[in-house]
């Protein structure tokens, strides 16, 4: 006797219910309930996020989800940002675009991070997707303004073009003129990464003037200060604005024009840019400061007193990016003025100097942790730290979710007690129970990893450099951190044992990066052979790993889970350890 399902809703009803479920995690959970829910869900999924472009192939994605409208992909490992991944490693978007051009003619959104995007890919996007709306390229490379011109010319419904810190080959500033005069749908434009010759100002001005829905505009550095007023007056509805260079000869008429233009922007909530700042021009923004929630001054080389004056005008500030010129005194002022602060990033002005050049120490961070009850996310570069400061921070701010501390000199101990910083970071993971991301620095032994393994149960991403003593450290992390998805390690003496003993763990994570560690080629081979659902990639610029003894450590190792099998677009210095006897990639 067949048992009928109690809830035999028509598919359309279930589909309608599912349409309210947006998050990937929830969607994935829904799809696992039963076969019919899996089927219904896959037909109505519109957005997909793929954290590692090599974890799945375009064909597999298309086969399962035939009606996707929005794709987000990430390519290179995070350490590529710091030149640890050699050029040519991979992360090419073209194969994806080719497949999607055929399968998703109604694709609207593409968001990419750390991928190689060519002009050919951009031209294919422009040609293939008639309703294309959103293109976000974060930290991408490989394309030029020619590709942008193709997008501008063809994508009539484009709403968002965001080139966040991508590397663009400058060929001509006239690509902006390829937006037809009839084009008026721009909502968001971020071209802050473009060089001097890459934007024609008059074309930009006309574009801004005819797009009434423009909310976000981030200019590139070449746009001079005296042009800002012109732009703002054409777009007083802007919510997010990034200046170009914020420097000019001091002239009262320019200043008052600028101040007037800013004051007419009643919706402005976020400011960035501020290259080459002349402090005397900063008061021009005071009229909008009370409503500003996000401020990026991380390129502004101005002194503490100017920074303090500015942040004290911004009581609604939620997010601040700034150089360490703000100093401890500035951070104390921040702590007393900005009670809504959620995110703080302090970058170093002098990262390669032998001595600290500014008075920014652990005290500044302690002050902010004490004064800002909503602080959740911290990125802090400094020259010194103590365990007691870290313990203070942890006790003050148990609601921290992201804590990235970079003590600039590697392996630096607590400068007061000369102890390792194990106890300090241990307090962080113990008190901050919702910590999702952690970056370590300073002098650290295996003990800190024991704390992390014991307490950091929600930790998803961990970055480690110049730390630990032995495999036990790595073992603590792999065996203890239940939520771990991404682990990246450099210059630590972790070897084969912990890795092999926790091989199964690696299948539950997105990826593991280890460079300048002590993992042997033999261990990599073993892992590759035993774990078919992992791609074990050895990156070694010294030549084929089998030209050296098996016990020889590999330079770099990148392990990630994949249902797509080993990739075939690797450059000559990357080898996949797969389940064949020979570990040599056949080229």
């Amino acid at each position: 006797m067949q048992k009928k399902m109690a809830y035999s809703f028509p598919d359309e009803v279930l589909e309608h219910v599912f349409s309210f479920i947006q998050s990937d995690k929830d969607r994935n959970a829904v799809s696992m309930v039963c076969k019919s829910w899996y089927e219904i869900e896959r037909w109505c999924r519109r957005k997909i996020f793929i954290g590692n472009c090599y974890a799945v192939s375009p064909r597999i994605m298309i086969r399962r989800f035939p009606e996707i409208r929005s794709v987000e992909l990430k390519g290179k490992p995070h350490f590529a940002d710091f030149n640890l991944v050699p050029e040519g490693w991979g992360g090419y978007i073209l194969p994806w675009i080719v497949e999607m051009a055929g399968a998703y003619p109604w694709l609207e959104e593409i968001r990419l991070k750390r991928m190689v995007v060519t002009d050919e890919s951009l031209e294919l996007i422009a040609k293939s997707f008639k309703n294309f709306k959103v293109l976000v390229l974060s930290f991408c490379e490989g394309f030029s303004t020619d590709g942008l011109a193709a997008i501008a010319a063809s994508c009539k419904n484009l709403k968002e073009l965001d080139l966040r810190e991508s590397e663009v080959d400058d060929l001509s500033g006239h690509w902006l003129s390829h937006f037809p005069e009839t084009y008026t749908s721009l909502v968001s434009l971020n071209i802050s990464c473009l060089g001097s010759d890459e934007v024609s100002f008059s074309a930009l001005e006309r574009l801004v003037g005819r797009c009434p829905n423009l909310r976000t505009l981030q200019l590139n550095r070449a746009v001079p200060l005296d042009k800002i007023a012109t732009i703002l007056r054409r777009a007083p509805q802007l919510v997010e604005f990034g200046t170009g260079t914020y420097a000019a000869e001091l002239r009262p008429d320019v200043f008052s024009n600028l101040a007037g233009a800013f004051s007419s922007c009643k919706e402005l909530r976020s400011l960035s840019g501020f290259w080459d700042v002349v402090p005397a021009y900063l008061p021009a923004i005071y009229s909008v400061c009370s409503r500003i929630s996000s401020l990026n001054l991380s390129y502004a080389t101005i002194q503490s007193h100017d920074l303090i004056k500015l942040v004290c005008h911004c009581p609604s500030l939620q997010r601040l990016l700034v150089l360490d010129y703000i100093e401890d005194s500035g951070l104390e002022a921040l702590a007393s003025s900005c009670k809504d602060l959620q995110e703080l990033r302090v970058f170093p002005s002098d990262p390669f100097g032998a001595e600290p050049n500014v008075s920014l120490t652990e005290q500044g961070l302690v002050a902010v942790s004490l004064g800002c009850p909503k602080l959740q996310s911290v990125l802090y570069f400094c020259h010194q730290m103590t365990n007691s400061a870290l313990v203070n921070i942890a006790q003050n701010r148990p609601n921290l979710t992201r804590f990235r501390l970079c003590i600039i000199a590697p392996r630096k101990p607590d400068y007061v007690t000369l102890e390792p910083l194990d106890v300090g970071f241990g307090a962080i993971v113990q008190h901050c129970k919702d910590l999702r991301r952690l970056s370590l620095s300073g002098l650290l032994t295996d003990r800190v990893f024991e704390y992390i393994g014991t307490y950091a149960k929600k930790l998803e991403m961990l970055s480690v450099a110049f730390a630990g003593d032995s495999d036990l450290g790595l073992h603590h992390v792999l065996s203890g951190c239940e939520s771990l998805r991404k682990l990246e390690i450099r210059d630590c003496s972790f070897g084969d044992k912990a890795l092999l003993a926790n091989a199964a763990k690696l299948e539950t994570m997105r990826s593991l990066w280890m460079s300048s560690c002590s993992v042997s080629f033999g261990a990599c081979k073993l892992l590759g052979q035993k774990m078919p659902r992992l791609n074990v990639e050895v990156i070694d610029e010294r030549g084929p790993p089998d030209s050296r003894p098996e016990s020889c450590p590999v330079e770099k190792l990148y392990i990630y889970r994949s249902v797509a099998g080993p990739r075939f677009d690797m450059p000559p210095f990357v080898w996949t350890m797969d389940d064949e006897d020979s570990a040599l990639r056949l080229s």
């Binding site: 940002d81 030149n83 640890l84 050699p86 050029e87 040519g88 930290f139 260079t245 080459d276 700042v277 002349v278 402090p279 991380s298 390129y299 101005i302 002194q303 970058f347 170093p348 002098d350 990262p351 390669f352 100097g353 001595e355 050049n357 120490t361 652990e362 020259h383 010194q384 970079c406 590697p410 392996r411 630096k412 101990p413 400068y415 000369l418 102890e419 970056s439 002098l443 032994t445 024991e450 450099a465 110049f466 003593d469 032995s470 495999d471 036990l472 065996s479 003496s493 044992k497 003993a501 199964a504 300048s516 002590s518 073993l526 035993k530 610029e541 030549g543 030209s547 020889c552 330079e555």
Partner: protein, 308 residues
Amino acid sequence: MQGGVVIRVGSGGGSESGSMSTVSREDNMVVSSEDSSYPDESELELGLGLSLGGGFKIQQVSRGGQYARILTAKDFPSVVSADASSSPSPSSSSSSSSSSLSRANVTAGTKRSADSVAAANGSSQVVGWPPIRAYRMNSMVNQAKAVATEGFKSTMENHKNETSMLEKRTIGSYQNSGNSKLRKSLFVKVNMDGIPIGRKVDLNAHESYEKLAKTLEDMFLKNTTSVNPVGSRVREHEVARPSKLLDGSSDFVLTYEDKEGDWMLVGDVPWEMFVSSVKRLRIMRTSEATGLAPRLQERNQRQRSKPI
């Protein structure tokens, strides 16, 4: 896999000469694995089968600090006592003490991998540390150039002085290493005719045209599907040979695009001048280097006329 893997350095022709990180790791291994009371093998299951089944037993080492201890400044009492006398307040004096402590760590801990890399390389560079994105580094460097070239002036004298001092210091830091161990990289793209995948090379890691050309030859001209049956490194034998890319004897020449957008033959100007004006490199077929041909012929003539 036995623990405490000990790899001997410099064991004749078969060993790796190219990677200095191997040197450091081995030293590190010797210090940390063999000298410590690291938990013995039984504490960690090695078999994959057991770990896959999830039923492995791992015992925590009893906390008594009995595991490997890394060298800290405490191991060097003379340095410590000298600095411990300064007051630990968040002022420049304490930060100078801490940085000299870190220097002590850095010099004393010669087994540390990063320092060994630096020492062995003969350069003072740790790649990718501190972790600052290349975009940010380039922006900070370019700020100086913008300031310098535009002849920027401000009528507020004290602001001008302060700002330009700040900028100089910031830019100075991002541009050069001073005597710090952490030197900024200067990566430029390199493309070779006929090869779709470009590479990047760090100019600041090379001190001369010869070294740069050697690296590029290794990257592009070396046959990576090594047909060498013994598996020994061919590189050692090539060390003594002069660079093919520079002397015009290869089918390719090394060219670069400068800040003005002109393509020039590499090697004509002093190295420092080259580094400050180069935007990107291209390994060009000699047949295509027509605009640069006169220089090429000159070079060939110069080579031929050199006494052997």
